[in-house]
């Protein structure tokens, strides 16, 4: 016997409506770089997921490249704590 009361007790991992999902998907779509260029026409959910995966992978690659660049910069320069304070202030 399915109990309707379980819906209120559960944290929402079941009984998710289509509307909630499409709302989350459209929010994800707004984060994608493509969405900022074009008008906000709705892409199919599978396309949004695909582009999201691609975007995350490209961000990971960027972070890896930056990590490599930073490690090279650190290898060549010595940094005293005074210099670190200056660099910190330059970043703010």
């Amino acid at each position: 016997m399915s109990s309707r009361r379980s819906r209120s007790r559960q944290s929402g991992s079941s009984r998710i409506t289509d509307e909630q999902i499409s709302d989350l998907v459209s929010k994800l779509q707004d984060l994608l770089p493509e969405a900022r260029l074009r008008s906000n026409d709705r892409m199919p959910s599978s396309r949004v997921l695909q582009e999201t995966c691609n975007y995350i992978r490209s961000l990971h690659r960027e972070v890896d490249d930056l990590s490599e660049r930073l490690s090279e910069l650190l290898a060549t320069s010595d940094m005293s704590s005074a210099q670190a304070a200056i660099i910190r202030s330059l970043l703010m």
């Binding site: 929402g12 991992s13 079941s14 009984r15 998710i16 289509d18 909630q20 999902i21 989350l24 998907v25 929010k27 994800l28 707004d30 984060l31 900022r36 959910s45 599978s46 997921l49 695909q50 999201t52 995966c53 975007y55 995350i56 992978r57 961000l59 990971h60 960027e62 972070v63 890896d64 930056l66 990590s67 490599e68 660049r69 930073l70 490690s71 090279e72 910069l73 650190l74 290898a75 060549t76 320069s77 940094m79 005074a82 210099q83 670190a84 200056i86 660099i87 910190r88 202030s89 330059l90 970043l91 703010m92």
Partner: protein, 216 residues
């Protein structure tokens, strides 16, 4: 009335797109008020978060260089190669990012938990204690929401890309992905700024011959 709010909105969008790390001002920002904290894109674009992260990033990276304390960086120093060091930098940057998330998201907790597990494993290996397997939750939550097989496949791929999100139900996964993307974008901005500052500083130091402490 409608034109003013759309103008404020356009200004806010413009400010965001011009690469500003500033908080969204104007009517749009005020109206969202409490809701602003919930939106990942605005949360990770605030100047304060960026500054906090940049500072943590600088500290974490300096630790990698001197190789103190962390077994991961000790291994990198032993290898004496740039490749493990860049990986150590990447992991330090990710940990600093996870800390900046203030523990409210699965991905941030997963990054910190995996680092903690690795430290414990390394510690046990040094002490030659028998390793205990890390506790894993065997449950996979049912009811992931209505999905076609194609969507399910892509959702699985997405779950592998976002740390700690393999077994999340679909809606939670989407929410985590949104936050993770916004955080990664901030990470890229901060690391780029740091690399630019460091390359400028090291260029001016080497060209002037003596360590000049006055910034331009």
């Amino acid at each position: 009335m409608a034109s003013t709010s759309s103008q404020a909105e356009a200004a806010a969008v413009e400010e965001r797109e011009s690469g500003g790390k500033r908080k969204r001002g104007g009517a749009t920002g005020e109206a969202e008020g409490l809701g602003e904290e919930a939106q990942p894109s605005s949360k990770w674009r605030r100047r304060r978060v960026h500054e906090i992260y940049s500072s943590k990033l600088l500290d974490a990276i300096r630790l990698v260089r001197s190789g103190s304390g962390l077994p991961a960086s000790a291994a990198a120093a032993a290898a004496a190669d740039t490749q493990p060091r860049s990986r150590a930098v990447r992991e330090a940057a990710d940990r600093a990012l996870a800390v900046s998330a203030r523990g409210r998201t699965h991905w941030s907790r997963a990054i910190l938990a995996s680092h903690h597990r690795r430290l414990q494993a390394a510690r046990r290996a040094r002490l030659r204690e028998p390793a205990s397997p890390p506790p894993r939750r065997p449950t996979s939550p049912p009811g992931k929401g209505p999905k076609t097989p194609a969507l399910a496949r892509k959702a699985k791929v997405l779950g592998r890309l976002v740390p700690g999100c393999r077994r999340l139900p679909f809606p939670a996964l989407l929410a985590e992905a949104s936050d993770y993307i916004a955080a990664l974008e901030m990470q890229v901005r901060a690391m780029t700024a740091l690399a630019d500052v460091l390359s400028t500083v090291s260029a001016s130091t080497s060209s002037s011959g003596a360590a000049s402490s006055s910034p331009a």
